[in-house]
Assembly symmetry: C2
Homo-oligomer: 220 residues x 2
């Protein structure tokens, strides 16, 4: 994406964008390692930019870390949008998004750890999975597919489960991540009122080829 | 508790225990505020102990923070044990523990924030709610009360929901915490295979008087 927009930017703007991106990547790596108490100097060294450059882009370390997480969530949200474009049923959009999110923890372990280390505040975020899941649960309820009395409570369980699934998958490297993600999605669909047989069937439908997209995503 | 044990300790041991407890309390307050990057000196000042005392008790700040969270989890686990002593049905023990845990976020906001700031690693902890919920889900499945194929996946959803419920309750101070906790418990019981009417009935049974116990707990 930076490449496409870059043609319109002058040399200074391009350099600024590169510096900001390098700082964000470095911050994501430190957050993924749980090293949020790292000094700013060390972040700028890891990003290979001057200490002075830091304050051209961010007011504080917290400001940078916040931007790093938001950027990761936006990237995840854009991926989910792309991978559910062909669907109309909001129940299936929810299911596919949840199944795919469950598969991303191992495919993008660094991004996953960035998000897990951000912790529970993420379950209330207005970026990434949460606003999309809210929209899908509401639409599925309006369409009579789900029987959910309180969207925020349903969302609370789903968001908590999405994060704790990631923790489980990192802690149990031998566990089949696809099967675990599909089983939890099926359980959530039943909890939201979908008949058991349909919940099971929806969670066994084929998924878009994540390998190809994940490759494209990594290279961006 | 420190008072009861103290009678058997000599003066130096008592002072050591006081110092350790003061450091743990200070650490819990900093974690609750999300200030994990605070210098050790500031923690010792908040605890009103000398900087040298710190290293008599803990190897590092991370060591102290870890102990602070474990201590909070043990306290919560002991409370749940006490409040479910009169029950035999593991499904109801799970339900009551989850309903009570949901009610603790507002009653003990500082403890709750310590736990929420600890983040997702908590869903895999062997202290506090998680090992008790694992035991109850397994027992309820063996007794034919739950129909759970994979205890760890069921536990993953329950632990994630317990934490994200806390986040929701802090973010939405006007929301009825008891009603939200009971609704999510009921949803989880249905997910675990309890018939809908029974799930609802179990979650409407009276609870032990948390006010009295919470008072005792705070004073300890």
């Amino acid at each position: 994406m930076a490449k496409e927009a870059g043609a319109a930017l002058n040399r200074l703007d391009r350099r600024k964008a590169r510096t900001r991106a390098a700082l964000i990547r470095a911050a994501q790596a430190f957050i993924a390692d749980g090293q949020t108490s790292v000094p700013i100097l060390e972040i700028t060294q890891a990003a290979d930019v001057g200490m002075g450059s830091f304050y051209n882009h961010f007011d504080s370390k917290e400001d940078l870390f916040h931007a790093a997480v938001e950027e990761a969530l936006d990237r995840h949200g854009a991926l989910l949008d792309e991978l559910t474009l062909d669907l109309d049923d909001p129940a299936e959009i929810f299911a596919r998004s949840f199944r795919l999110t469950g598969r991303l923890h191992r495919r993008h372990p660094e991004l996953s750890k960035v998000l897990l280390n951000r912790g529970m505040a993420l379950t209330r975020s207005e970026r990434g999975l949460v606003p999309r899941a809210r929209r899908d649960i509401q639409a599925a309820t309006q369409a009579g597919r789900f029987t959910v009395a309180d969207t925020e409570l349903a969302l609370t369980v789903a968001a908590g489960a999405a994060l704790s699934l990631g923790q489980l998958l990192h802690d149990q490297p031998d566990r089949d991540d696809a099967r675990a993600a599909d089983q939890i999605t099926e359980d959530l669909l039943r909890m939201f009122g979908l008949p058991a047989d349909e919940a099971r069937e929806v969670c066994r439908r084929p998924l878009p080829n994540l390998d190809e997209l994940a490759q494209g995503d990594s290279a961006a």
